[in-house]
Subunit: 593 residues, 2 copies
């Protein structure tokens, strides 16, 4: 019989450490903990049916709320289904607490039903993993499991945030014998947090800061690259650094820097297009780059770094080594916002000419950004005039329509690239999010619905048809829990991104194959998703290009999940993207002339 | 540039070692191998969109065909999605070769997109795991990767069969530069198999056999328990052992012993019902049990073993320790069929009375089996007469309707239990299959469709609504590859099995919770699955109890996937199961009177 006191204090400790939401998947072995979680009034329990989807739902909830979020599953392959979300959580630095019920020791590795080896199941993809003992009622176990609960939440949150795994064996009978609600008295156990953690940020010493300030001030062609990151304090800090250095901030859509009330006067929103191959780009190779956050979404931006091989600093308060450009790099393992501010201050106090930013360089980037912005808007208006559907349009419109605090979730393959190219800068605090830890196309809809469940702002999602099909049962979550979201389903009947890759050109006899592109890469499925959406309890609405903006506006004030399906053509999509890039190239050429 | 010769010979070696089918999921990093697999005329490549589903599809194909089956996915969470199928494959002893494309060394663990730690990704759930080098064109690498390919197939197949993981890094450019079709000359490399494996079965020595024969002959109340297993030679061997010992064969539906042309005169098909608590069962406690295969599906059968605590032998040619009843056990690590036959021979040569089987004991079991069979048929006819839907009925009908060689796949939760209780013995070689390695409810539809793709016989699947929802995009496989199957979708709007468990009785204030059973365990979803089935390209047909048999008969001669939806009630389902068990109990009581 599972010790009720241990169950109760375990859950109590999760809540004391900051957990407010947990996703529970139905199961028998997990019953004691499922009941105990449900009995705590400080936890919102949501039941979902597919553990893979549940993992991503919890991930989206955690990403949107910034809180460590739990997910409880029963033993067996149920637990194995959490691996994709665990991978994304740890690489994407999202705090997730994976709770897997297990068979007791005597039923492990002896052919018992639904018993698999769950110890260390997530391998290197869990930051911390503990195989707990049976809740046997001893004082030692009570204190052990309670302290592990607090430590699990703290560890999931500690930078770099990530997934933590607690494996919890339970022996039959599985229905606890006693009241699971939190008690005042806690049965003689201390009623304050068992494991409190006080931690401060890493900060550089004065001499390191002074050296870096000199290095930045010496650069004439510096760039600040703000990659995907979650610290709300960073955008303002980078604005100060940009001011002090005269470096533009190339703002990835997932950096938090592109939209918001901070000083955006030196923020470049169209960096992806400015970095495309061409004369403008060739004339704007940087001599120094300071990177914050993860590697930017933009491939052209990464290519520019690779080709220019500038002096490079990568600032990461969580001690990471995120540097796939293979450049010599100074890693600055100190809090990003504090470091940026401190560097700005240090540069401002440098004597004489060394502290004068290179205005022409900054102005060049800002003028180009403006020109690109104007060109893209004009080009899009022309496409609109033709009534032609374009996959970037949803982001342009949502950038105008979304209110302060809204979450704009983008699918991980084509949508996030279109987000990058098409989301304009804005003073409204739109929060673009995506699963760019591992860039999987799996769990996207579940993640966005999890974000909707966080209740921190309206949610709009733009997702492709393959990603939607991959996570087909995700909408069940919205039906069961009455969630609201606007979903733009960009349906090009297959894998759109491959049309941009060399695979599209390789449909030739060179490798000895007959035409195979559509079979292996394009993968058209011809599935009409509307009836599926409707059956899953959401509203489905096919939209034409001309009706998209109005449909979005309507959906954003409606409740429930509204799926607006925009049909596009994969081959035509490539042409349109090239057209848009060409329009920008012309604008940039005119700028130089 | 990936070495074309190494690619070609790697694939060639997979085929030489016996691989005939591979499932490929779209991806960019996996391009070189996807093209090489597709270029080999000896491999059937099928493209699927969801890696989790693809893993189970390959598993079903391997289970049905007995051949090592490959699945190729791109890097990132795509690879992580294979874990559930890997777990089931290794615990369920199914030969699967997991091929995961990876980034080259210089893009690992440095924040590159879609790069996760894939080395050892499946942990203890892969029998063997190799992180291959880049195909760099050196003679050493060519021979290394080629020998690994052959060894991977051999290892997946070697008892106990299971999942093998090959991680394959590729560097850009990803389009190979040369003809990928197999060549006669093999570029100077040997054109025979690089890694051949000859292996024989384990066989017991004569003195061990003689000891065991004496032990069996001394038992007066012996049982042969045939659990889930795949060796087609075992049923006939157990028939001989039953004859020699006078022990009945309690035939799990997944043992291969219940249906087929072998001697079934001592096979008990209704063992699950005979072992239910009651006077008959109490009077039939065994003094010795010889178990073959995995632990039987029947919980009452396991409980009988636990309670009777007989002398126990567990025969496993693959060296397993599958013994969750926690009894003193002699493990016989020798080929099951050979050992059973050898024991039968040894017993037959024992002198005098020791070799006389206890006829009354055997006759008692066989008479009870017959009585239970008659009672169940009569009870079902009565339920049919009332026009009432019953979840066991599909198995009773399919047992009559399925032709020789047909595969009957059962969902892992309630359906497999109903299969156990309701599939009658038959001289037709119906092959019941299920994912009972880990008993997950995930991937069931994908697995059954994979079995259909094996082309070894017609496939019928009985699956519950939660399992169907869990694997909702599975039917895409049938649409893309023109597969045929009959699917009975038993829809009781939630988790039917929990109604049989203590959770159903625990909806009480004892644990301090308001009514929570439906929220946490029953989980009604109210989703109309018909439009989803149709949109995914299958035929959906709601069937009433009275029309089920005819609908099955029709579907079995049709092409495509026909989903026959039978609506049932969870609470009523429990009553009906109790009614059926009560009818058997009455028949058994009459038998004793």
């Amino acid at each position: 019989m599972t010790d009720v006191v241990a169950l109760r204090t375990f859950v109590e400790e999760l809540v004391r450490a900051g957990m407010r939401a947990v996703v529970v998947c139905p199961g028998s072995r997990s019953t004691p903990l499922a009941l105990a979680l449900r009995a705590h009034p400080g936890l919102r329990v949501r039941v979902l049916l597919d553990e893979r989807s549940a993992g991503f739902f919890a991930l989206g909830l955690a990403r949107a709320s910034g809180r460590a979020t739990g997910v409880l599953v029963t033993s067996g392959t149920a637990a194995a289904n959490l691996l994709p979300a665990a991978v994304e959580a740890t690489l994407g630095r999202v705090p997730l607490v994976l709770l897997t019920a297990d068979r007791p020791p005597e039923l492990r590795d002896r052919g018992a039903p639904q018993a698999i080896d769950q110890v260390g199941l997530f391998g290197t993809h869990a930051k911390w993993s503990v195989d707990l003992p049976l809740f046997d009622g001893t004082p030692e176990t009570r204190r052990h499991v309670r302290s592990v609960a607090g430590r699990a939440v703290a560890t999931a949150l500690a930078g770099p945030a990530g997934a933590v795994h607690l494996n919890l064996p339970f022996r039959e009978p599985l229905i606890p014998d006693g009241d699971l609600r939190p008690h005042e008295a806690m049965d003689g156990e201390p009623s304050r947090s068992f494991t409190d953690v006080l931690a401060g940020p890493r900060t550089l010493g004065a001499s390191d800061l002074a050296d870096l300030a000199m290095r930045l001030a010496a650069a004439r062609r510096g760039l600040i690259v703000a990659g995907p990151q979650a610290d709300p304090a960073l955008p303002a800090a980078l604005a100060r650094l940009a001011e002090a250095t005269g470096f533009p901030v190339l703002a990835d859509p997932l950096s938090g820097c592109r939209c918001g009330p901070h000083d955006r006067s030196r923020v470049v929103a169209r960096g992806d297009l400015l970095c495309r191959p061409g004369a403008w780009r060739d004339a704007h190779a940087p001599d120094l780059v300071v990177r914050f956050g993860a590697i930017p979404t933009s491939k052209p931006m990464l290519a520019l770094l690779e080709d220019a091989a500038p002096d490079q600093l990568v600032v990461d308060g969580d001690g990471g080594y995120r540097e796939p450009a293979l450049l010599p790099t100074t890693f600055v393992h100190a809090d990003a916002a504090i470091t940026a501010t401190a560097l700005a201050d240090a540069i401002a106090t440098l004597p004489g000419v060394a502290s004068q930013p290179a205005h022409a360089w900054l102005d060049g980037w800002l003028a180009a950004d403006h020109a690109a912005d104007v060109a893209l808007r004009a080009w899009l208006a022309e496409v609109e005039g033709r009534g032609e559907a374009f996959e970037g349009a949803p982001f342009a419109y949502l950038g105008e329509l979304l209110p302060d605090g809204a979450i704009l979730w983008a699918g991980s393959s084509m949508p996030v690239r279109d987000l990058d190219a098409w989301l304009p800068g804005s003073a409204r605090a739109i929060r673009p999010l995506a699963n760019r830890g591992a860039n999987g196309i799996d769990g996207v809809v579940s993640s966005a619905l999890g974000a909707a469940a966080a209740g921190v702002g309206q949610v709009a999602l733009v997702v492709g048809d393959l990603s939607f099909l991959h996570d087909l049962n995700a909408l069940v979550a919205a039906k069961l829990h009455g969630l609201s979201a606007t979903v733009v389903l960009v349906n090009n009947d297959g894998g759109g991104i491959f049309s941009f890759l060399p695979q599209a050109a390789a449909d030739a006899p060179a490798v000895g194959l007959p035409a195979h592109y559509e079979e292996l890469f394009g993968t058209p499925h011809g599935i009409d998703l509307g009836p599926i959406v409707e059956a899953l309890g959401a509203v489905h609405r096919p939209v034409e290009a001309g009706g998209l903006r109005a449909a979005l506006a309507e959906s954003l004030v409606a409740t429930g999940v509204n799926v607006l399906e925009l049909r596009t053509q994969r081959a035509r999509n490539v042409e349109l993207h090239r057209e848009a890039a060409a329009a920008v190239a012309v604008a940039l050429a005119e700028l130089r002339a």
